[in-house]
């Protein structure tokens, strides 16, 4: 009997809801683009709360030097355990360096630490759950996906931005007036292709041309990939796509024209700029044709193999660092598209790892000191800086890191020959200017996530055909 009751309760819940659906003719649903405008009030309200203890500490910390912060951290966390959570595993490498630094100030200092790296978007649920407690477990986080950070973490007041004084000075801003999140680094996903065949990729439209099935992480599991697509619809990047389109030959234009024309009305409905239809056409062709992979690692493994003739992909640049040369596999089997002299258009996507304190951080001073340490010192950033394709948000640290690790000559051998040109990382400035990297704008992503986002979800992914 009880089992039946339970079953009945579950089914009833679904039935009631479904009936509710029948009766609610005016309720908006996904795909209804007019529904986009309604989300402001609730989320913004949450942010306007009274200043907490963590807010007060951040306000004080923003006026302090790293050394002053370090002293506060020593006072606060000596003998305690520091819990951090992040999308990057390197937090685990950076924390011992931080502890060593604190020991240079107080040799008796010691702190245990645990660094967690949840998967499958779990970091947001984990932080949300932790935020319910009066004193949280996690002192800070290193997190990616500006869109979700904005809507789930910042609008809801779960995460707090701390701007280190030294970082602000290095960037020519003041901590108090700085708006936005604190990036630790920018990472780039760049277009590459296997060059063992005849295929040419000299224009960003070539990656969506007939027969092309670039390798890319599933946009539903790697949401920064979806943010990349959102960003293409921003006016400045839609304009870049239009410029690249203009340089195509007539044959290719003839292939793309019907698709572009077909997106004109959608671009208007979605409130995009004049060239928005080019962005939508590119996105449509990309989503409908990309070959889905679980991670950038397998994409890299595939592209460097001679058998992946003419295949292309958009993947994290730093993956090239660990390829070992063999009869079948070589870094020289791939070409970084934007490094070609005759390449036109966007060269990839730049997204950030952001740093935050939690609103109920149990060790706020230590979290501030750690954040200042990894954003303002070369040693602190070395956990990330030793690899190509990651650029510190602090210009001084970026410069020092490049001087130390020489990523611009990453493909040179000991004899001074350029053995693997693809590994010669041209650096942040080159990528953002000449490389035409599309840069993540969290607020823009959040704004279009239910307009452009829903439009993308209506497209039929190549993998959906299984």
């Amino acid at each position: 009997m009880k089992k039946r009751g339970l079953a009945l309760a579950v089914v009833s819940a679904m039935l009631v809801a479904t009936l509710g659906a029948c009766g609610s003719g005016t309720t908006k649903t996904t795909g209804d683009s007019t529904a986009a405008q309604s989300q402001d009030s609730g989320s913004k309200q949450a942010a306007n709360t009274e200043k907490s203890e963590v807010d007060n500490i951040i306000a004080q910390a923003q006026g302090m030097s790293l050394e002053e912060l370090a002293k506060k951290a020593i006072e606060e966390s000596n003998g305690k355990t520091f819990y951090g959570v992040g999308n990057s595993s390197r937090g685990k490498t950076a924390l011992p360096l931080f502890i060593s630094y604190l020991k240079t100030i107080d040799p008796n200092y010691n702190m245990e630490f645990e660094w967690q790296q949840p998967k499958n978007n779990k970091i947001f649920e984990q932080l949300s759950a932790d935020s319910l407690k009066p004193s949280g477990t996690f002192a800070m986080t290193l997190i990616q996906d500006g869109n979700q950070i904005q809507t789930k973490m910042v609008d809801t007041n779960i995460l707090k931005t701390f701007i280190p004084k030294d970082w602000a000075e290095a960037n020519g801003v003041s901590a108090d007036s700085y708006k936005g999140f604190l990036p630790l680094q920018t990472l780039n996903k760049v277009f590459m292709f296997n060059n063992t065949g005849d295929a040419k990729y000299t224009n960003c439209w070539d990656f969506v041309y007939e027969g092309s099935h670039p390798l890319f992480m599933d946009i539903d599991s790697e949401l920064v990939g979806k943010n990349f697509l959102y960003m293409l619809t921003k006016e400045e990047y839609a304009d870049k796509l239009k410029e690249a389109y203009d340089k195509l030959d007539a044959t290719k234009k003839a292939y793309f024209d019907p698709v572009i024309a077909g997106e004109e009305s959608d671009a208007k409905d979605l409130g995009l700029s004049e060239n928005g239809k080019y962005a939508l056409a590119w996105i449509k062709l990309w989503v409908e044709n990309y070959t889905e992979e679980t991670d950038d690692g397998p994409i890299c493994n595939t592209l460097v193999d001679t058998s992946a003739k003419d295949q292309s992909g958009l993947l994290v640049y730093s993956k090239l660092r660990s390829v070992e040369e063999s009869a079948n596999v070589s870094v020289n089997n791939i070409t970084v598209a934007a490094y070609q002299d005759d390449y036109t258009g966007i060269g990839g996507y730049g997204y950030n790892h952001y740093l935050f304190l939690t609103k109920n951080s149990p060790l706020p001073w230590t979290a501030c000191a750690f954040i200042a340490y990894i954003t303002c010192t070369e040693d602190g950033f070395s956990a990330w800086g030793k690899d190509m394709g990651g650029y510190s948000s602090n210009p001084k640290v970026m410069e020092a890191t490049e001087a130390k690790y020489q990523h611009q000559k990453g493909g040179y051998n000991e004899a001074g020959e350029d053995q693997f040109p693809a590994k010669d990382d041209r650096g942040y400035d080159w990528w953002t200017k000449d490389g035409e990297l599309v840069l993540e704008d969290p607020q823009y992503c959040a704004d279009v996530s239910f307009t452009v986002g829903n439009w993308i979800e209506m497209l039929s992914k190549a993998s959906d055909k299984n």
């Binding site: 339970l6 819940a13 659906a21 609008d155 539903d220 397998p298 660990s322 986002g453």
Partner: protein, 598 residues
């Protein structure tokens, strides 16, 4: 009053009643709480997701998730197509596992096929291995640049032969991989019954000159019907809730959709979980109906006869055995060889030494690198032998598996016993169903529900062994309770009644009579949670981070494309399970498979 007192005394005088009462209450809470948590989640507004967008509110409750999931333009891709795929996957998986595993059980227990001991041991290997590792092997074997746009797999590289897309991705490979994975399950369940079956009826039919096919359809198959139904119940639910296999083989199911929707359509993802649960409840109801129609399934009595073996011919017994040796080679040995080989390749999937015949291309770096050197091609990892993440996960996994096996095995065995003793009681049926219900819920949804339950202002158990053990025990009690119930139903009451007449205590009856008779089934009730726990991913995926247990670490390395590490973890898992299986064999005389085939 006196009558009531006597009734209570009589009630509590029977150990099975106490067991049913205690576990009935406990299981009600542990089973209903996750269900309530998920239902609540479907109605809750989640900041930054579709429900906030559609309602314009940042908190509170709404039925908008139901409306959107069932009526929006995305209903086909978010709901109906994954639902249809899931059902097909579950049905085909059941078919493949029962046909392949059931037939093998028949051959091992009822015929004079040769090489039984070897085959029986090797057949369970796909169940020992995490299910998605066979999917990864499938990819490594059959993928090709020409068809999928990836690098060539082994067959395409060596022979140039390419396989069509339906063979490489989607429903077919997913069902085959899951079917092979669960075939040992069918083998264990059905084989256990075959092994213990009283041959009197079949012998009587043989004496009466009944044709063999008629004996099979009229006597043998009906006798093993409970085992087949139980296998369907367990396999159907598991296949429905399987996340990694369809994920790796590119099939969109409710489980994969649950994960992909979870970030933006959190509440709608929970509805998908409820839909899977509703299917689970429906299957359970069907099973109840079939149970009601059964009269008696006692197969072990005090006067059991000798089991007869069917002679499949002088040559036949060798030929059939050889065929299975070849088949099990590809399902059990070949993957292990590939795992071992993978750990010596210079790059993940780089078999270039096969074409160049230059064995210098092989490397021990994945095992022996003792420092963190990214330049050496280890992607920031230490070698396997020195990798603290892997070894921390290994010890954590052992702790988890032991705890889950001990707790779930004990509770499940007791429940099975008590339900068998009170088989006509409604409360017993209720307890039995409550114990079984978690198994029918998709693992991912159960994990998510426990995450929600234990992530609040009072308690936060994420990434602790407590939450893993709780989820594992609740989820795996059915293994033990079903194995126990199946076997207990075969034991005639007259055995225990004889002991009661001799004034034997309940503990003595259990230890001296019940447990020894059904030792292999009961050991299965402990071994299955242990083995399953070792390589469970879907259930624990959302409850801890990678590096906490081996399965999440393995999945992490597989997703990252670091197949040397994931292959090594597979080898570690297989060796661990074999060691414990052998230990169980030596210490108790019963192991997972030799109760059937040994």
């Amino acid at each position: 009053m006196g009558i009531l007192k006597n009734r209570i005394r009589t009630f509590f005088g029977k150990p099975q009643n106490i067991i049913l009462l205690i576990f009935g209450i406990m299981l009600t809470f542990s089973t209903v709480a996750p269900v309530v948590a998920i239902v609540k989640d479907t109605l809750q507004i989640h900041p930054g997701t579709i429900d906030q967008h559609l309602t314009g509110k940042a908190s509170g409750y709404s039925i908008v998730n139901y409306i959107d999931l069932f009526t929006s333009k995305l209903a086909m891709s978010n709901l109906w197509k994954p639902l249809i795929n899931t059902l097909f996957l579950a049905i085909f998986t059941c078919l493949i596992s029962i046909l392949y595993g059931g037939f093998f059980a028949f051959l091992v227990t009822r015929t004079n096929m040769k090489f039984k001991k070897y085959l029986s041991s090797i057949f369970i290997f796909p169940y020992i291995m995490p299910q998605w590792t066979l999917a990864v092997v499938w990819q490594n074997m059959f993928n090709s640049n020409a068809v999928l746009g990836t690098s060539d797999g082994l067959i395409a590289s060596l022979t140039g032969v390419t396989f069509p897309k339906w063979w490489c991705q989607g429903l077919f490979p997913s069902a085959v991989v899951l079917g092979l994975h669960y075939a040992p399950f069918a083998y264990i369940m059905i084989g256990g019954i075959f092994k213990n079956m009283d041959a009197n009826l079949e012998e009587a039919a043989t004496i009466l000159d009944t044709p063999k096919w008629k004996i099979m359809t009229m006597i043998t198959l009906p006798m093993i019907t409970p085992a087949i139904l139980n296998t369907i119940l367990l396999v159907f639910g598991s296949a429905m809730g399987s996340y990694p296999v369809p994920h790796y083989l590119g099939l969109t199911t409710l489980s994969t959709k649950y994960i992909s929707l979870n970030s933006k359509y959190t509440g709608e993802a929970s509805i998908l979980a409820i839909i899977m649960m509703v299917f689970g409840i429906m299957i359970l109801s069907l099973n109840q109906l079939s149970l009601k129609s059964r009269k008696n399934y006692t197969t072990v009595t005090g006067k059991s006869g000798q089991l007869s073996k069917i002679n499949i011919g002088k040559a036949g017994k060798y030929v059939v055995g050889a065929v299975y040796i070849v088949m099990t080679f590809f399902t059990s040995i070949w993957p292990i060889m590939l795992f071992a080989l993978e750990t010596f390749l210079p790059n993940p999937g780089d078999y270039s030494f096969l074409y160049t015949h230059d064995f210098k291309n092989l490397t021990t770096k994945w095992w022996l690198t003792s420092e963190n050197v990214t330049e050496n091609g280890l992607y920031g990892q230490h070698g396997i032998l020195y990798n603290p993440t892997i070894w921390h996960a290994f010890w954590g996994t052992l702790l988890l598996a032991f705890a889950c096996a001990a707790i779930a095995g004990t509770i499940g065995t007791l429940i099975g016993y008590a339900v068998a003793k009170n088989r006509r009681s409604r409360w017993a049926a209720y307890v039995n169903n409550m114990a079984f219900l978690p198994y029918l819920m998709p693992s991912i949804a159960v994990g998510a529900a426990f995450f929600i339950l234990f992530s609040n202002e009072h308690i936060n158990l994420f990434n602790t062994y407590y939450i893993l053990i709780i989820a594992g025990v609740i989820k795996y009690i059915p293994f033990a309770s079903r194995a126990s119930l199946n076997s207990m139903l075969q034991i005639s009451n007259e055995l225990e009644e004889a002991a009661i007449i001799q004034n034997a205590s309940w503990v003595k009856r259990m230890v001296k009579i019940i447990i020894p008779i059904q030792k292999s089934s009961i050991i299965s009730g402990f071994s299955l949670p242990f083995m399953t726990c070792l390589r469970e991913l879907s259930l624990f995926l959302l409850l801890c981070t990678q590096g906490f247990i081996l399965s999440t670490t393995l999945d992490y390395f597989d997703e990252m494309g670091l197949y040397a590490f994931s292959s090594a973890i597979n080898l570690i898992l297989i060796v661990t399970i074999l060691v414990f299986n052998t230990l169980a064999d030596k210490l108790t005389g019963s192991s997972l498979d030799n109760g059937i085939g040994g």
